[in-house]
Each structure stands twice: as C-alpha cells, then as structure tokens.
C-alpha cells in the first residue's frame, strides 16, 4: 500500500485497517524474515468505519471519523481496485472477538450444538416414555390427570422462569458449573419436554386402533403391541414434533442468559460440556448490545445464520412428515 500511495503517513494507513493488522504484519515478518525489503501483497479486513464508507453508508465529506488524508487514501485505493468485498468466511470459522471485523460464530455454533445435543439426549427418550405411558398405559385417575394438567401448564410457563429454575436448582443447589452447555441443555430440555410429549401423544393417537387390536389378537402383550407396532408407526410424527421442539430450543435466549451461557469465547479449543460457552441467540444478544457500530452488520449476519438453521430444521420436519405420512 505504501508503494501505491507514497504520499501518506503510516498512521493514516493503519487507521483504515483492522485493529490487529500491525500485529499480524509483525508476526508475518517474524515468521519469515526473508520478506523484509521485498514488496508483498497482503489482504486485510478494513476497520468497521471504512467498511461503512465502502458500502456508501456514511458520507465522505465532513466525516468526523476520518482525517482528510485517510479519505484521500481511501479514494486512491478505490481507484486502483485495491478494495475487495469477498465473502466473509471468517464469520463461520472465527470465535468471538472484541473487534467486529474479526468476530465469528464458531464458538456460538459449537456451544449451541453441545446444548442442543444434551437437550435432545434428555428430552427425546424421556418425552417418548412419558407420552407412551400417559397415552397407552396410565389408568384414568386423579394422579394422571394431575400430570396431564401439569404438562399443559408447563408448555405455557414463560421461558425466563425456566432460567430462574436452572439458576436456583442446577447452579445453586446441585452446584453445576455456570455457563456450561450441560446446564443449558438441561434447562432447554425441561422446556422442550412438553412440546415433545404433546406431539408424541398426537402421533400415537393417529395410529388406528385396528393395528393394536390385530396385534393383541395374535397374542402380543400390551408392551409388545407398543414397541413392535404402534411406536414404529408413530415415529415420523414423533420425530417431526421433536425437531420442531429442538428448533424452538435453538432460538431460546432468556434462560441461557440467566444461567450465564453468554460467556466471551475467543477460541473454540477446549470447549466442552462443562466449560463456559455461548450460544447462537445469546451471541446475537451480546453483539446487538455492543457499542461498536461494526457489530450491527455482524449481528444481522448472525441472525441470518440462526434463521438459516431454523429453516433447515423446519424443512427437515416438513419433509419427514410428507414422506412418511400415511392416510389410514
């Protein structure tokens, strides 16, 4: 850049680049001292104000965030075609950073993945078992009525209350680590359980009684009817409901905030079930709260990523339903 634009100062130049550019250059020179004295072309992200300038969002004249020299450099760079706007893959592969131009979603995606995995492993078997019991085996009495009313009410409890429960019971009473995906997944699974139970019961109800009667007629026990015939037939419906529940859990923010799953994760290494983590929605929340203007576009991109995941999950649910739906 200096070669192209001999009449500018270093400081004016570096003000245009990302905050970590000087350090990165120094590291590169240290790694390969041979490049001293040569002209090497490197590509750097520009600083957020410059990005806005390049997109034409802020006026060029009388802009208080740039010195006149910087504007000159910018114009010269634009004239010589030195500015590029490639697709920003760093968004997916970098972890969080204080600099918006370097911040990425890798940590958030990993954290969300862990939490959802825990949530699925807990709520899927428990939800199916509870639904099968309530729908097929439970005697009709006051106690099972109580369970049913309970499940319906749990589905309508505000999510922030589940966060309070997680904070008081999982963190306060059981002493599990704060910010951990394990706790996040446990709280989310309590929230998804009612969804899965209700969906599973609907799917079980949709299996016609003739199937049950036929199986009972050839001498199967009640459990065998259930495990060998009804449950396999109801599985597509159950899976659809589960995926929709998982999609809800993926977008849930408030309970994760309360148990502290909005940690600052600058690197994806040593993330685990018990290590501090962040998740996609809480990452969106923290970025939306950041004062730097560069985070506005990052937040929007993160939201698109989140919505992309949700759309994919819902599409899978819809195709599952259409592929395996049977008319009896």
């Amino acid at each position: 850049m200096q070669a192209y634009l001999p009449d500018v100062f270093d400081t004016a130049l570096f003000g245009l680049l990302a905050d970590d550019a000087p350090e990165a250059i120094a590291q590169r020179v240290a790694a390969d001292p041979g490049i001293i004295g040569k002209t090497v072309s490197v590509l750097f992200p520009v600083s957020p104000p410059v990005a806005e300038l390049a997109k034409g969002k802020t006026p060029k004249v009388l802009n208080s965030r740039f010195t006149p020299e910087q504007i000159k450099v910018f114009d010269a760079m634009e004239d010589k075609g030195l500015l590029r706007t490639p697709f920003n893959w760093e968004l997916f592969f970098n972890a969080d950073s204080r600099f918006p131009e370097r911040a990425g979603l890798a940590g958030a995606i990993t954290g969300s993945f862990y939490a959802l995995m825990v949530c699925f492993l807990l709520s899927f078997p428990i939800g199916i078992a509870a639904a099968v019991y309530l729908e097929e085996f439970a005697p009709k009495n006051r106690f099972t009525d109580l369970i049913e009313v309970n499940i319906n009410n749990l589905a309508a409890v505000p999510s922030v209350v589940f966060g309070l429960l997680g904070l008081a019971v999982f963190l306060g009473y059981f002493g599990l680590p704060r910010s951990a995906p394990l706790v996040g997944g446990m709280v989310l699974s309590l929230m998804t359980l009612p969804t899965i139970i209700i969906a599973t019961r609907a799917a079980l109800k949709a299996v016609p009684p003739s199937i049950r009667e036929a199986a009972l007629g050839v001498g199967a026990s009640k459990h065998q009817v259930m495990m060998h015939h009804v449950l396999p037939l109801a599985l597509p419906g159950i899976l659809t409901g589960t995926i929709i529940g998982m999609a809800q859990a993926l977008g849930e923010t408030a309970p994760l905030l309360l148990i502290g799953m909005n940690a600052f994760i600058p690197s994806v290494e040593n993330m685990g079930l018990l290590e501090p983590a962040t998740s996609l929605p809480t990452q969106i929340f923290s970025w939306a709260d950041s004062p730097e203007r560069g985070f506005v576009s990052r937040t929007s991109a993160a939201i698109l990523v989140l919505l992309g995941f949700l759309v994919v999950m819902n599409l899978i649910a819809i195709t599952l339903r259409q592929m395996f739906q049977r008319k009896w």
Partner: protein, 459 residues
C-alpha cells in the same frame, strides 16, 4: 471422568444383555421353544438389572458428593475458623480452598487453607474411586442376581415389561418434578427476599431502585424495592402489544376462515405461523434497529419527543410476535361454530357481514377471549424483546413515549453476571419471578377453562 464411567456402565449393560441371552439359550440347550420368554427378554432383564441401579447410583452420587465434601471440609477446619462468618464469607472460604487445591495461587494462602486444600484433594480422589468401586460392584451384584434367576420357567418378559413400565412412570413424573422445582425454588428464594424486604413495600411501594451499595460509604440509592412501577410498565407494554395484535389477529382470522379462497389460505396461514417460529432475540434486534428509530423520526416529524427505548416500540414489535397466537386460536374458535348456526343466519336473509358480526363472533367469543388471555400471558412473560428494546430504569409513567421497564427486564438485569445468592438484589429477581409465574399460570388456567367450557356447549 464421570462421562467415561457412565459410558462404561452402559457398555457393561449392553454386554450383559448378550450374556443373559446366551445363558437363557444354554439353559435349554438351544431348544428355544422350551423357554417361557424369548431369549431377548432374558437379555433385557439382565441388562436392566446391571445398568439401571448403577447409573442411578452414579447420578445421585454426583448430586450429593459436592455438598457432602463441602460440609466435611467446613467441619474439619480448626474450631473457631468459621465463627462469625456469614454464608457468603463461608462460601468464599470454600472456593479459596478449592482454587488452592486446583493449583491456582493468587497470593500466599494461610496455613489453615493449605491444609484444608490438601484434605480436599485427598477426599476428592477417595470419593471418586469410592464411586467407581461402588458403582461397579452394584452393577456386578445386579448381574449376579439377575442371571441366577434365568431358567426355562422364568417369566423374563413380565420382569422386563414391569421394569419398562416403571421407567415410563418415572419419566412422566419429571413434568411434576419440574413444576415442583419451579414453585419451590421461586418460593424459597422469594421468602428469603421477604425476610429482608417487607412484602408490603414490595407489592405497594412506588420506588424501584435495586442498586445496593457494595462497599460501605458508596453513594448509591438506598435500594428501594417497590415493584409497582415495574408492574405498571409490564402492563403498559402488554397493553400496547395487545392493542396491536388483537385487531390484526382477529381480522386476519375472520378473513382466513370466511372470505379467503382456499388457495390464498393455504399460503397465508403458514406464513402467519412462521412469525411464531422466529426467535424473540431476532424480534428484539428488529425493534432496536428498525422500529425504535423509525418511531423517533416519526415523533420528531409531528413534534412529539419519543424516547428510543419507549414502551411503544417494544410493545408494537411484541404485538407482531403475538399475532399468530391470536389469529390461530380465533381461527379455531370461529371454525368450531356449528354449520347450522351459519346456515340459519343465511336462511333468515342475513348478509355475510351480518352473519359474521351478529352470529359467528358472539358464538365464538369465549374461544376468542381464551386466545386473547393466552396471548396476554405470553406478552407478560416475553423477555428478549423488552430486554433489548425497553428501558432499565423504573419510572412510574402513564405516557407511552418515555422509557419503561418490565418484570422480565428486571429479572434479567438483576441476575446477569451475579451469582451471589444472599443479597436482596438477586433475591428480588426471584420474587419478581414468582409473581410472573403465578400471574401467567392464573391467566393460562383461566383461558383453558373458558375455552373448554365453550367447547362443551356445542358438543
């Protein structure tokens, strides 16, 4: 470590499945028709006896190991060390011991702490190995008991099915445990809060300033916990949301059930329901970035100052979020009105519009009311939109244009980044949570009651 133990136990259970199977087959020398139950059931019975008690034991052990060791540690400290320490200071001492034990030395720890740290390390190791030992001996014991029972006459299928039923009952109890957990944790923490703050002040006080001086002599507000402004803000925002959502949701439901062509309906209905699937944090960002500035600009245009975090922006966006609720519940209610009532109205010569306003809506009103109540409870409990778009400072205001705060905003701001459980500031969040839980629960029960009662009328 614990993960490996659990995986190992599950592998052990899987192995013992095949063991039980084989043993059953061998008991009848390969003539399977002599067995009462098929070999699979013998295997499943043995696996359940091996896996379930040992895994349960490990889980219970994990839950209680921490607090047992903590208590042992406190008890083993030289007499007089913990005298006169508050709960918070004691837990601080414990975490100091633990961090010394983990090798993080920030400053020279005292002799007492060092000794305790050594004890802690030793006990942790002992507890871990004791758990492994006990868990595996329970598993082997289960194996011995179960495999001794295998014989041609043994009714393994009945045993396995009974175990499965028990597991299913336990799973359906989790829903009750969750509710119980919510109620108990909220109640206990809220009672601790009311120990420190007069309930009368909380429910009727007009001043909400939960900041408490952390150091002595720090200049802050004294910490006032009158929640009326918070409740008022919540109601205001919920009211605005309902003012947006009720007409739009109701009218779109009427249009969709009565006027829309089936093809149009097939497109619009999923799109409306899509709104319900968008995460609320996205709505919040939308409110902050788009709606609030637009409203401020509009306010400037007509000469009214609108604060950027006013109730108007948050309420309006929340209203959009709630539209699908109201529309789909009203849709159901209108569709449930019997065909005969519609036809009767047409036969009397009423127009379509008259039928809708004079016959359908009155008949569907209870269902619609139920839907609206459910939506109100949703609006009160909604968190992220208001956390991002509404204010934090509680001011008692009746205008929609100045910043307001809500119950959920206060819960989140009081608890973020703060884990100390013994100051009124964090406990206040639990008191607010209790109020929130009770109010939404009441609204839900009322709504379900109305809807159910109405449904029975036409059946």
């Amino acid at each position: 470590m614990i993960g490996y133990i659990l995986v190992l136990l599950i592998v052990l259970a899987a192995v013992s499945y095949f063991f039980g199977r084989k043993r059953a087959v061998r008991a009848v020398e390969g003539r399977e028709y002599l067995l009462h139950s098929r070999p699979n059931y013998h295997g499943a019975f043995v696996a359940a006896w091996v896996g379930i008690p040992s895994v349960l034991l490990v889980l219970v052990w994990i839950l209680f190991q921490g607090s047992v060791i903590d208590n042992l540690l406190l008890w083993s400290l030289p007499p007089g060390t913990t005298d006169g320490l508050s709960v918070g200071q004691t837990s601080l001492l414990l975490s100091e011991i633990k961090s010394v034990a983990a090798g993080n030395l920030f400053s020279e720890p005292s002799l007492v702490v060092q000794e305790a740290a050594e004890r802690y390390q030793r006990w942790e190791a002992i507890a871990q190995w004791a758990m492994v030992g006990v868990a595996f001996s329970v598993a082997l014991l289960g194996l011995a008991i179960a495999s001794r029972r295998i014989s041609p006459d043994f009714r393994a299928r009945h045993g396995a099915e009974r175990i499965l039923s028990g597991l299913m009952i336990a799973c359906s109890l989790i829903a009750i445990l969750t509710t119980l957990g919510i109620v108990l944790s909220l109640l206990i923490e809220a009672l601790r809060f009311f120990d420190r703050v007069n309930p009368f002040e909380f429910f009727f006080g007009l001043n909400w300033e939960p900041q408490i001086p952390i150091r002595e002599g720090q200049v802050t507000a004294g910490g006032a916990f009158g929640a009326i402004p918070v409740f008022a803000g919540t109601l205001l925002i919920a009211l605005i949301a309902m003012a947006v959502a009720t007409p739009i949701g109701l009218y779109s439901a009427i249009y969709l059930t009565e006027y829309a062509h089936p093809k149009v309906r097939a497109v619009i209905k999923p799109v409306l329901e899509l709104l319900a699937g968008i995460p609320t944090v996205v709505y919040g960002f939308f409110a902050v970035l788009t709606v609030a500035p637009a409203m401020r600009q509009f306010g400037e245009m007509i000469g009214v100052p609108i604060a950027p975090n006013s109730a108007l922006a948050a309420g309006a966006v929340m209203g959009i979020m709630i539209i699908p609720f109201i529309s789909s519940l009203s849709d159901d209610a209108i569709a449930a009105v019997p065909r005969a009532m519609r036809d009767g109205s047409y036969a009397m010569g009423a127009t379509k519009g008259e039928t809708i306003t004079k016959v359908l809506l009155p008949a569907a009103l209870p269902g619609i009311m139920g839907g609206v109540l459910l939506a109100v409870s949703r609006a009160i409990g909604e968190t992220m939109i208001v956390v991002m778009a509404a204010g934090i400072i509680a001011t008692l205001t009746a205008t929609r244009l100045s910043p307001v705060t809500t119950v959920t905003v206060q819960i989140v701001t009081l608890l973020i980044g703060d884990t100390e459980f013994d100051n009124p500031k964090t406990l206040a969040a639990f008191a607010l949570g209790l109020v929130l839980f009770l109010v939404t629960l009441g609204l839900n029960i009322l709504a379900l009651h109305i809807v159910r009662k109405y449904r029975e009328q036409y059946e």
